[in-house]
């Protein structure tokens, strides 16, 4: 069992080196990060900064070269086998031969939940992501945004206390993307799960997160961690608020390493 006091994610001195034909690539260099239970943390940075790698290490889809990584106080591999996290990727990754319901049921099915309990849980999840009218549809009949909702419902199926998301809205158009962000903010509050969210988008990171982790490439490092103190239950109106733009500017400056005004003059 997990101790209630242990952090959702605890990384200390984590490095990851990929050996390729052309030599070694230092994807991550001595990264320390802690994510509290229920906290929403975004990882942001240019391509190659290792944000996706860090997420994959937490998910135990890759193993760190050095350093330790714990999820709810246990090694990442144990946490994966115990199903302590749910995960969603940029590609929805739905099984095309399964209906919406059957796709959401996959994690439950893999871990032998009784069909009766499954049905009730799936109904809950379908309602949570607003797909009540599409339970019998196949992925090729859904829009990109709807597919991503199914992927999120699947990630939440086993009721994990940690949600890992690798640019889940990266392939969506801007309007769908904002709607999905608002939904995700609500879902995160409703489920009380901690979220580690990889993104390229500064407004997206600011709108969703309690903390934004800014990373830089070659080697992948954490340069700054910024607080976004807007509390829970964020509304659409936040997107127009001056303090929202102020935080967006702060993240942008941290990303560029210089004040933005100067960057604009060049």
């Amino acid at each position: 069992m997990t101790q209630p006091s242990s952090p959702a994610v605890h990384a200390s001195g984590v490095s990851k080196t990929f050996v390729t034909r052309t030599g070694e690539v230092h994807a991550l260099d001595t990264v320390d990060l802690e994510v509290a239970p229920g906290e929403f943390v975004s990882l942001i940075g240019p391509s190659g900064c290792g944000k996706s790698t860090l997420l994959r290490l937490v998910a135990d889809l890759e193993q760190p070269t050095t350093g330790t990584l714990e999820v709810f106080g246990k090694p990442a591999a144990t946490a994966r086998l115990d199903q302590d996290y749910g995960i969603a990727f940029q590609q929805a990754g739905l099984l095309p031969w399964r209906t919406v319901e059957a796709n959401i049921a996959l994690p439950l099915e893999l871990h032998g939940h009784a069909p009766a309990a499954r049905t009730a849980r799936i109904a809950e999840l379908v309602a949570l992501v607003g797909l009540e009218d599409f339970t019998g549809a196949y992925p090729d009949q859904l829009s990109g945004g709807m597919q991503q909702r199914v992927a999120i419902a699947r990630a939440l199926a086993a009721g994990p206390r940690l949600l890992l998301m690798d640019e889940p809205f990266g392939a969506l158009d801007e309007m769908t993307r904002e709607r999905m962000q608002t939904e995700l903010a609500r879902i995160a509050v409703e489920t009380g799960a901690a979220v580690v969210f990889v993104t390229h988008s500064i407004p997206e990171a600011v709108f969703l997160s309690d903390r934004v982790v800014v990373m830089s490439p070659r080697p992948g490092r954490i340069t700054t961690i910024l607080d976004v103190p807007f509390g829970t239950g964020r509304e659409e109106s936040l997107r127009e608020a001056p303090e929202f733009f102020e935080r967006v500017t702060a993240v942008r400056e941290a990303l560029h390493g210089t004040p933005v005004t100067r960057a604009a003059e060049r």
């Binding site: 998910a59 994966r80 199903q83 990727f89 031969w97 996959l106 994690p107 893999l110």
Partner: protein
């Protein structure tokens, strides 16, 4: 043109062409007598089919059964061996040269040997020929299909801690299904052709291949052509059934 007339045209056009061709054939052979003796009129062929339909059906069933047994044998062998080759890469290396060799063996080269081996009272030589012909496309397509799982799906199954058997049963196999049915569709036509051709080289004195050969030689051209028609029907039946299987397996799959 409205979509409805367009659809109607799609059905009517080939029928019109077929009727015109048959009419021209009947005229050329029946009225103007400009064809060699082995080409009878369509009317004569239909008359022969009507007269000999019980024996044509009987022979057709024998050939079709041989093709079906061959398709099942070759198909199952192809699926099992491809599964093993996908799982154990060392087997892949061992099997590939053998499969390549089987793929280039001309069926007609093996047929007389097999027919002699299994004797004039056994259909097994013919079935084995059909099985060999069916095996190759099934093996190649299934092996390819078993390697089509997408990285994002593999990540999903690993993240949800699926066992090896679960990953195979719920991801690898369903992903391969359209390829399996494609292999079976190609193999179906090959099995029919091989089972029929195998009858030209000995074995029991039945089946439509045997009948076509003997009636053509003895000058009963119209009856021989009737049997050819039966062969076409068998081939079409195999093709349509396997095509239907393939369509079912590829429902809801993105085409890319």
């Amino acid at each position: 043109m409205t979509p409805r007339t367009e659809n109607l045209l799609k059905v009517v056009a080939p029928i019109v062409v077929g009727v015109l061709l048959l009419g021209a054939w009947q005229l050329a052979v029946g009225v103007f007598r400009i064809a060699p003796t082995l080409i009878p009129t369509p009317a004569a062929i239909v008359a022969q089919i009507a007269e000999f339909s019980p024996i044509i059906v009987e022979d057709s069933l024998i050939t079709a059964t041989n093709a079906l047994v061959g398709l099942v044998l070759g198909g199952v062998t192809g699926i099992v061996l491809a599964g093993l080759a996908a799982r154990f890469s060392i087997l892949d290396g061992m099997l590939l040269p053998i499969v390549a060799a089987i793929a280039v063996v001309p069926i007609v080269a093996l047929t007389p040997i097999f027919n002699t081996m299994f004797g004039a009272s056994s259909q097994f030589g013919r079935q084995a020929i059909a099985a060999i012909a069916a095996f190759v496309p099934v093996f190649i397509n299934v092996l390819r299909g078993l390697r089509q799982t997408r990285p994002v799906h593999r990540d999903v199954f690993r993240a949800y801690a699926a066992s090896g058997a679960q990953t195979f049963g719920k991801l690898t196999l369903p992903t391969a299904l359209p390829h399996i049915t494609t292999g079976l569709r190609i193999a179906g036509s090959l099995a029919v052709i091989s089972a029929l051709v195998a009858e030209y080289f000995g074995g029991p004195a039945d089946g439509i291949g045997t009948a076509i050969a003997s009636y053509a030689k003895s000058g009963k051209a119209a009856l021989a052509w009737g049997y050819v028609g039966a062969g076409i029907l068998i081939g079409l039946a195999f093709f349509l059934v396997t095509l239907l299987l393939e369509r079912l397996a590829t429902r809801h799959r993105p085409t890319t």
